[in-house]
């Protein structure tokens, strides 16, 4: 009887401590948010005070409320309005994503072939290194000559920039597959293809996702660079247009939109990584 009672007490204690831990977690999350907001407001205040008291002209550094106005005027419009951010943003994002898909697929395919076949590795590695060392943005003018001032150049630049981190990471990830797992497949007389997609590809998945994470940001970068070099549409064009009339607040607003977009894309990759490779970092004991 007494043991039963004490068991009940123990369960109560467990429940209580779990609830307490949850409350602590919630509190610390709330605290982080509060600190974040305070920090942001302090930054805005510092910005405003600096611009006002140092008498910085708005064509060098606009006050925060001007940037906010520019941002709002781009957001508070009909999605199809040519004055808003939606049309150029969609143009930039869709081209960046298409380029990213192309670059990522090629990078994964070539990285896999290089990891799987020594002959492919030794043939392609020198070129991969050479191209990797080259500042790839410097190729942009050439790409524009080849693909024109339209979406073609944007997609090509995005693909080119996304390609390398994914190539390198998938190659490294597959080479890092644990020998014991490959030997397991050998002991089971598995074919090369089976070993590839049942062991090597999932082994490389954490590396590949790190590459995708970099690649998506690079793809956005590549698209913007292509737009700078002469395009009719896109956020890069919006920035150069604002720059041409020294609308610095407009440039800031466009940068903020691009920054937020970059963060969203990064979060999408991270989220899919966590749901697809939930076993990573926990597979070993």
């Amino acid at each position: 009887m007494s043991s039963l009672r004490s068991e009940g007490v123990a369960f109560d204690l467990i429940a209580t401590s779990a609830a307490a831990a949850q409350i602590r977690r919630r509190r610390s999350r709330l605290r982080n948010i509060v600190f974040g907001v305070i920090g942001f407001l302090a930054l805005l205040l510092l910005w405003k005070l600096g611009v006002t008291y140092l008498k910085v002209p708005p064509y060098i550094m606009p006050a925060p409320e001007r940037v906010f106005t520019a941002l709002w005027s781009g957001i508070a419009v009909a999605p199809s309005s040519p004055l808003g951010f939606y049309v150029p943003l969609w143009n930039t994002i869709s081209n960046a994503l298409l380029g990213f898909l192309i670059g990522a697929s090629l990078g994964l395919a070539l990285g896999s072939l290089m990891a799987e076949f020594r002959s492919v590795e030794s043939t392609l590695m020198p070129y991969a290194f050479a191209l990797q060392s080259l500042p790839k943005i410097a190729i942009a003018p050439l790409i524009v000559i080849w693909c024109g001032f339209g979406d073609g150049s944007k997609v090509a630049m995005a693909a080119l920039l996304a390609f390398f981190p994914i190539l390198v990471n998938s190659f490294a990830g597959m080479r890092a597959a644990e020998i014991e797992r490959i030997e397991l497949m050998q002991a089971l007389s598995a074919t090369r293809l089976q070993t590839y997609y049942l062991v090597k590809l999932p082994s490389a998945a954490p590396y590949i996702f790190a590459g995708l994470d970099m690649g998506i940001v690079y793809a956005l970068l590549g698209t913007i660079v292509a737009e700078f070099l002469g395009a009719q549409e896109g956020m890069g064009v919006a920035i150069t247009k604002a720059q041409a009339v020294t609308d610095v607040a407009g440039v800031f607003a466009a940068l903020i939109v691009l920054g937020v977009m970059g963060i969203i894309l990064h979060l999408i990759v991270r989220w899919s990584e966590r749901s697809i490779i939930h076993w990573a970092d926990r597979g070993k004991h």
Binding site: Q186, A187, S189, T191, L198, H285
Partner: protein
């Protein structure tokens, strides 16, 4: 000192082994004059196995013990078809062993479960690859094995959700998935704590008695070897040779509390220890 005095008794025991070895069972594995030479990164050649002869009968449980680096694992890898001998022959059921065979199941030091698959996907893996066939009959047999191994209800868990002992049991079920004749185990319980290990030994004995497989198990634990083995084969430090082949005459099923401390256990463990120390 005490061990040296025991030595004459040891010789007697070995003679006794030879007499009782006449059981009417077919030889499943024949290893004859196997030599294995490794070349190190530095370019030196290392003699890992030096003319090893070993015969194992059907349904026999053989434990290999020896100091680290004595070539136990090398011998096991040869039997698993993961390596090739430089000289000598080995055969399974009369057929030469030249590579991986569906008649051989391997349990590695680590459970080596694939972390991206559930327990069920892991144990079914041998039916998915390398000419393994996914028949309803085999699937039912594997389900049965999962239950015997105490993994019922954990089929859809991922390896990281399982304890070390459960992971290793799943690895044993996977090794038995194709219903092989021979089960090779390389220190399967080395990573487990002592208590779990003892429980796993009892469970392995149960699985083995129920399945009627031939087992070759490598271990560092003399007690484990005596508890599990019909025979304890002792290997010498590099170059690996077989120095003694001891019969363990203890009734089955063995129970830890009865086996450990029994005269046979004490005698055998002293003998093995003397060989390993010598």
């Amino acid at each position: 000192m005490n061990l040296a005095i025991e030595a004459p008794g040891v010789v007697l025991a070995a003679g006794h082994v030879a007499a009782s070895a006449q059981v009417v069972r077919n030889t499943l594995i024949e290893v004859q004059g196997v030599v294995k030479i490794y070349s190190t990164v530095a370019g030196e050649s290392v003699l890992a196995l030096d003319h090893v002869d070993l015969n194992i009968r059907e349904r026999e449980f053989v434990c290999l013990v020896g100091p680290s680096g004595c070539g136990k694992t090398t011998l096991l890898r040869l039997l698993a078809g993961l390596d090739h001998a430089d000289a000598g022959t080995s055969s399974l059921d009369g057929k030469a062993l030249n590579g991986p065979s569906p008649e051989v199941g391997v349990v590695f030091q680590q459970s080596n479960l694939l972390p991206w698959f559930t327990v069920r996907q892991n144990v079914m893996l041998p039916l998915r690859v390398g000419g393994g066939r996914r028949t309803a009959e085999r699937e039912a047999a594997i389900q049965q094995l999962l239950e015997v191994a105490g993994l019922k209800g954990f089929e859809n868990k991922y390896p990281y959700e399982l304890s070390g002992g459960m992971q290793q049991r799943a690895a044993i079920v996977r090794a038995l998935a194709r219903d092989p004749k021979l089960l090779l185990m390389d220190e399967p319980f080395g990573a487990l704590d002592a208590l779990t290990r003892e429980r796993m030994n009892a469970e392995l004995q149960r699985i083995w008695m129920a399945s009627g497989k031939t087992v070759v198990l490598i271990t560092h634990s003399i007690d484990e070897a005596i508890f599990l083995g019909d025979r304890v084969v002792v290997m010498s430090p590099r170059p690996g040779r077989i120095v003694r082949d001891l019969q363990v005459d203890l009734p089955r099923p063995r129970i830890a509390t009865e086996t450990f401390g029994s005269p046979t256990h004490v005698r055998l463990s002293r003998e093995v220890r003397a060989l390993l120390d010598g």
